[in-house]
């Protein structure tokens, strides 16, 4: 099972049990649909309902991105996994402030654990970042409200991003500050692009469970349509995306010629840059580790699903939620 990324313009067509991509020059490429889990469209693509019906039949999710490579929306097959019971339980954990902040806090614990893990990999001179982050971390327990918690997370993230210049050897990729809209330099462009992809991956996994992706704990349920995806992505962004960015830069895979500037203001990954990033991303998602309680080889992608399962177990009163804290 894999994700398909399409950068060119063209047309997607259904042909029995396969899909066909016809590019602007009329060149055809056939992909067996049974091997596809998600399709990501970066180019301008024509398609029809018969194609979309095939996706529904096969449970394939389609994500679209705008010109800048940012997530713009999804075509999601009629969800098979629904449970009124889970919906009600999930809502009850949002309506009760105590229950809500408990879960929100766990997401941040997971995120911070992975941030520290990244910093620790670059030993010399990293103590100052680690110590500062840990001094904030001990207060997470005392946060009384979600905004207070978000504030602490913001502080930690700021220090974490400062440590990036320490982790990254190539000055071309050094940070001034984290700027999301729009990113103005290559490192911000990479982070924004990576986070966008992470969000869609989490969303695809969420859809395989009975959790309602619009009901979130850390982010306000109204902040974005599928805000639970934002919540869970917090844990996985530092684990999957940031580590990938640093290693792509330090191993000189990602270079200055993989970026373009629009009106010398907005910095974006160009098509080649995106392809390089996504290839490495796919490889990382399919990498496996032996899970300590399942005692089975488990891919990074499946770890995301497992996080959903643990949340379900928590809200139905089975096992208290503990975030993933990579131990390897």
């Amino acid at each position: 099972m894999k994700d398909i990324f399409i950068f060119n313009n063209g047309r997607l067509k259904r042909t029995d049990s396969t899909i066909q991509f016809i590019d602007a020059d009329g060149k055809k490429k056939t992909i067996p649909i049974v091997q596809v889990e998600n399709i990501h469209l970066f180019g301008e693509i024509d398609m029809n309902t018969s194609f979309l019906n095939l996706l529904t039949q096969q449970g394939v999710v389609l994500h679209t991105y705008n010109y800048y490579g940012y997530y713009s929306g999804s075509f999601i097959p009629r969800s098979k996994q629904v449970s009124g019971y889970i919906d009600v339980r999930q809502a009850s954990h949002i309506l009760d402030p105590q229950k809500r902040i408990f879960i929100a806090r766990q997401f941040i614990y997971g995120a911070v654990h992975h941030m520290l893990k990244n910093i620790r990999q670059h030993k010399d001179g990293s103590e100052v970042y680690i110590n500062t982050i840990e001094s904030v971390r001990v207060n997470i327990e005392n946060a009384k409200t979600i905004p207070e918690l978000m504030g602490m997370e913001g502080n930690i993230r700021k220090i974490y991003f400062q440590s990036f210049n320490h982790m990254i050897k190539n000055e071309f990729f050094h940070f001034v500050k984290r700027e999301k809209r729009p990113p103005k330099d290559p490192i911000n462009a990479l982070i924004s692009f990576g986070n966008s992809i992470m969000y869609t991956t989490v969303l695809s996994e969420l859809y395989k469970t009975q959790l309602n992706p619009t009901m979130s704990f850390l982010h306000e349920p109204s902040v974005k349509r599928y805000s639970l995806s934002l919540d869970l992505a917090e844990i996985f962004k530092p684990l999957i995306i940031d580590g990938l960015i640093v290693s792509l830069i330090n191993n000189r895979v990602m270079k200055s010629n993989h970026f373009e500037y629009i009106e010398s203001e907005i910095c974006l990954l160009n098509d080649e840059g995106r392809k390089i990033f996504l290839k490495a991303y796919e490889e990382k998602l399919s990498k496996t580790i032996k899970h300590r309680t399942l005692k089975r080889q488990t891919s990074y992608r499946f770890l995301i699903r497992l996080e959903c399962y643990k949340l379900i177990k928590h809200i139905i009163g089975d096992t208290t939620y503990k975030p993933l804290k990579a131990w390897w």
Binding site: Y85, I86, Q210, L294, L306, Y309, I312, I316
Partner: protein, 170 residues
């Protein structure tokens, strides 16, 4: 006899009750996961093949149970006899539902791969057994939280395996 209408149970929940109460609780709370393991697929193929040979027909009763009528008996085709106890109970339950509708039948468990057939009769003792199970199912369903985890030999092949056994080690 109890009134089955008040104890709506599907044939599957009878099986689940005997195999794992947790599985029963999860599935009756609409927490289901796709089982795309080969074993289930194998079961399906087996079912379809046996269909053709016997010229049987599938009957849905009360939107509750789906049975295979092979002429004058009720048949269930299984890929192996590993779960014989729960297979037998599932079949007894079918016979029980039929009896409530005034139809008296004999049941047969088919294990074509093992070339084995077992006859099942709804005796008075069996009726009591079925009723005990039906009440048991209700008790499990009504619990406010899922029954605790118990490691069963069956777990590693169960569709809920990852769900049940995922956890964090401190």
């Amino acid at each position: 006899m109890l009134n089955v209408d008040e104890l709506k149970a599907t044939g599957l929940s009878v099986q689940y009750y005997l195999v794992c109460h947790r599985k029963l609780w999860l599935s009756t709370h609409q927490i289901q996961f796709e089982q795309d393991s080969d074993r289930v697929l194998e079961g399906k193929v087996l079912h379809e093949q046996t269909y053709n040979k016997h010229g049987n027909k599938e009957v849905l009763i009360d939107n509750l149970i789906k049975i295979d009528l092979f002429g004058d008996y009720v048949g269930e085709v299984k890929s192996s006899s590993r779960m014989q106890q729960s297979d037998r109970m599932q079949l007894l339950y079918y016979l029980y539902v039929l009896k409530q509708a005034g139809i008296n039948k004999v049941g047969k468990l088919h294990y074509p791969k093992e070339k084995k057939v077992e006859e099942v009769h709804l005796t008075d003792a069996a009726v009591k057994e079925v009723e005990k199970v039906l009440i048991g199912i209700q008790v499990v369903k009504d619990k406010s939280t899922p029954p605790p985890l118990i490691k069963l030999p069956y777990c590693s092949k169960c569709a809920y395996y990852s769900f049940c056994w995922v956890g964090e080690v401190d």
